[in-house]
Subunit: 387 residues, 2 copies
């Protein structure tokens, strides 16, 4: 086990009826609130009204910054920062999925500094004193509600970059599973894929051979990510299944699974980010198209670890280490297929002719993320595995 | 899944060489430090010197409160409170295992109020503004380093009582596994038993039938608690095994496993507390003497849950639900025996003639902990199962 610091101060309010606490939780940090949300689906399902009512009941002065896209873009972040400054907002409240929370974090970081917010993403500046953030989560997927990271796309440079900073944990996040009951099957599955992918990144990129307790936690989260998603897809408004998937996704990327693993990477996300920078594919769909190929490409390097994964997650007990490794990848791929998430670039409609520019784009992010074992040639080879 | 609040703000610094950070972490909260520790083993292994050096380097004024017993006692807590007041301590630094950290929490709570600290334990008063606490952990066992609970024995009334309060999470806890390498085999095993017992309490007392992700986490922690302990006992100074056991014990009682389970109880601890209130047996040894009997007594009530435990933790795949449940309890008992922790009251040398007074004592705690499904008769029946 490697040395680590674990410090996750986010307060989680989980369960039915918790949305009404958002006003009280936000008022702790100030009266002038920037309310960040997406395309307006929260107005259709009544969540917007609930949030406004709760915020207003504490006397909050609300400035609204709607229109966050999935794969949120830099120019919209910059507009939010401008608004937060004009209105002298003291706190940001995000109501949405990972995209909305990610954009809200970037606004929190950018509002209190003179330089452009993108400098945080390119590693040229470090966050010190952001606005505080509260959130109401609407999608089980990214884990952004209980971590300090975010991803934003710069459309001018076609760069989908991310960073994390310890000052950007949300102060409070409200997770009411009923809010997610209206998410359709496809986006529910993409969300589960995203959560599982977060675990896989850590599980397969840690170079520390001695992480038994983390392994058990990660294997449990992958198993339960699949099982809870299956139950949701069987009945979209199954409260308990939604709750189970929601908390699983949060735990999948709240710092717990990677504590002690040493340096880990996000190579599957790195490649997926390049896909969605060009094609605007749903994040989870892009991930499931990349994961099987990435795993096949790497299985040779550490078959024992892949075999352990196969044994524990897919109960594969027969065969050589190599056979088990292969069966584990097949098991995961079959599950992606079962829940309707694409398992190849071909299925996503991405032409091989584009691989060089995807690899080039990926390398830009690999450099920012300091993934020194990647180069364009290697990324192209992985992309070939994903056909 | 039941509604829950999860908010664990403790900062963990984990790994080799981290002890030298205790000064910096403590200085954040003040210059006047009350240093709490036990019988002086930290002076033999050099830890005391390291801590004093680190605290002194920040200019701290240190008042020492040594002599905390395992099963810490109220009168010693009260002495610590008096000292903290006299010296106008602004922060408490605990260096030790669960007993030392527990006593330090009680001192933190009691120093800032006028009434006697025992009123917190009997539920007559609630903690609001305690002194801040930092810790250096020396034993993988109680989880006190990352939770808000504590247990203290009132020797005048023979009551071993505990409570938790959200203001009593340590601010920072330092977990350096090398510090635990000198713990002898027996106390290492008792510590592992304690950690596993914390998980079992939640696993078997939750009445919510729908806690899949928590089940996976708890099963993983039990499996890894046993596996890591086995590796440590095989080689007492195996750093990685010590690290694995240490982090497992912390995760076993940091609020994560019980979040969403609804009301859970500590019936095995309740009974064990009565044992160690009378006999001063090591906490873990008392627990392993009680757990198999408690499980046998309750297996009839929820065989499906017991069977799931047997299947997943002990890989028992054959037989009826009842048979599996029985095999799971046997597997756990066999593991206790393997690591040298007693598995019956007889093995602890506790006479049956004492069962009525143990049951009576247990009921006093059951009332404070609001365990309404217990009475003296039931406790005596469970004790009979533990022979």
């Amino acid at each position: 086990m490697q040395n680590f610091v674990f410090h996750n101060p986010t307060k989680i309010l989980f369960g039915k009826g918790k949305v009404s606490s958002i006003g009280e939780e936000t008022a702790v940090y100030g009266k002038n609130v920037l309310l960040v949300y997406g395309s307006g689906s929260i107005k259709k399902n009544g969540l917007y009204d609930q949030v406004i009512q709760s915020l207003s009941s504490t006397g909050a002065i609300i400035s609204e910054h709607p229109g966050v896209q999935s794969n949120p873009i830099l120019s919209h972040v910059q507009a939010g920062i401008q608004l937060a400054r004009e209105k002298q907002c003291e706190v940001v409240c995000a109501v949405g999925g990972g995209s909305v929370i990610d954009e809200a974090k970037a606004i929190c970081a950018g509002t209190t500094v003179q330089h452009d917010v993108w400098k945080f993403f390119t590693g040229k500046k470090s966050v010190k004193n952001p606005l505080p953030l509260t959130t109401v989560l609407t999608l089980a997927a990214s884990g952004s509600e209980m971590n300090s990271g975010m991803v934003i796309t710069n459309t001018e440079t076609s760069q989908k970059f991310g960073f994390a900073n310890k000052h950007l944990f949300p102060k409070t996040s409200i997770l009411d599973p009923t809010v997610t009951c209206s998410v359709p099957a496809d986006y529910t599955a993409y969300g589960a894929v995203d959560a599982i992918a977060h675990v896989l990144e850590f599980y397969f990129t840690s170079l520390d051979p001695y992480t038994p307790v983390q392994d058990r936690l990660m294997e449990g989260l992958v198993m339960n990510g699949m099982e809870s998603c299956d139950r949701v897809l069987n009945k979209l408004d199954d409260y308990h299944a939604r709750a189970d998937l929601m908390w699983t996704a949060t735990l999948a990327l709240n710092g717990l699974t990677c504590a002690g693993l040493g340096k880990v990477g996000f190579p599957m996300h790195m490649i997926e980010h390049s896909l969605s920078a060009f094609y605007d594919v749903p994040h989870g769909a892009g991930l499931s198209a990349v994961i099987p190929g990435w795993l096949r490409f790497h299985a040779d390097l550490g078959p024992a670890r892949f075999a352990q994964f196969a044994e524990r997650v897919f109960d594969i007990r027969e065969g050589s280490v190599e056979t088990k490794a292969e069966q584990g990848i097949k098991g995961l791929t079959a599950w992606f297929e079962k829940v309707g998430s694409p398992t190849s670039l071909t299925a996503l409609g991405i032409p091989q002719a584009d691989f060089p520019r995807i690899a080039e784009n990926g390398m830009a992010l690999a450099k920012v993320w300091r993934m020194k074992d990647y180069n364009e040639q290697k990324i192209e080879k992985i992309l070939q595995e994903c056909i």
